[in-house]
Amino acid sequence: MADTLVAGTAGNSASMVEEPLDLVRLSLDERIYVKLRGDRELRGRLHAYDQHLNMVLGDVEETITIVEVNEQTNTQSVNTVNRKVPMLFVRGDGVILVSPPSRSS
């Protein structure tokens, strides 16, 4: 058991996951879902990232969620705005989470 573990550690570093950012590395050239501050979400192909989670994404679809409260009727309405950007740099300080896209999208 210990031997396999050691062998794993010495194995090729390209497919190994030992720190959280390795999961992001394995998403390179894959479509990913990024949740951002300010009720924004992105879906796009990951071309580059760094330790701050700055990223370059291709074929991006951005979804902005706007919740409006009507004070007279006291009801909430949720509106989403979608837009497409062919190539986008995203600054890492706005990133909340990175994940593979959900199957519905």
Binding site: S13, A14, E19, L21, D22, R25, L28, D29, G38, H47, A48, Y49, D50, Q51, N54, V56, G58, V85, P86, M87, L88, F89, V90, R91, D93, G94
Partner: protein
């Protein structure tokens, strides 16, 4: 340093910088530094009706920390090169971390030993 190098390759290209206050500025990338501050020339604000304050501004400096997005033109971006560079960057930062770990522990032990030694 990956994105600093990347943006240096984008100097001279048309970009749209979207700020955290929703202002979007289009212009030619003049220069970039390690904090990803940008200098743009020949700028125009994307939604001038909503943001008329900068109509007469031609050149500007943008502090990196207020940037949300930079929209780029796809033909100027070599995606295969970027992915390779990202993998190399990931590997090199990991190696730096591993190299810095063992000496830190060793230094601490010596520091404690020296401290106790000097007290007695």
């Amino acid at each position: 340093m990956l994105f600093y190098s990347f943006f240096k390759t984008q100097v001279g290209q048309q970009v749209t910088v979207e700020l955290k206050n929703d202002l979007a500025i289009q212009g030619t990338l003049e220069s970039v530094d390690q904090f990803l501050n940008f200098k743009l020339k020949d700028i125009s604000v994307v939604d001038e009706e909503r943001y008329p304050h900068m109509i007469s501004v031609k050149n500007c400096f943008i502090r990196g920390s207020v940037v949300r997005y930079v929209q780029l033109s796809p033909p100027t971006v070599d995606t295969a090169l970027l992915q390779d560079a990202a993998r190399r960057e990931a590997q090199s930062t990991q190696q730096q971390q591993q190299q810095s770990k063992p000496p830190t522990a060793a230094t601490n032990t010596t520091a404690i030993a020296t401290a106790t030694g000097s007290v007695s």
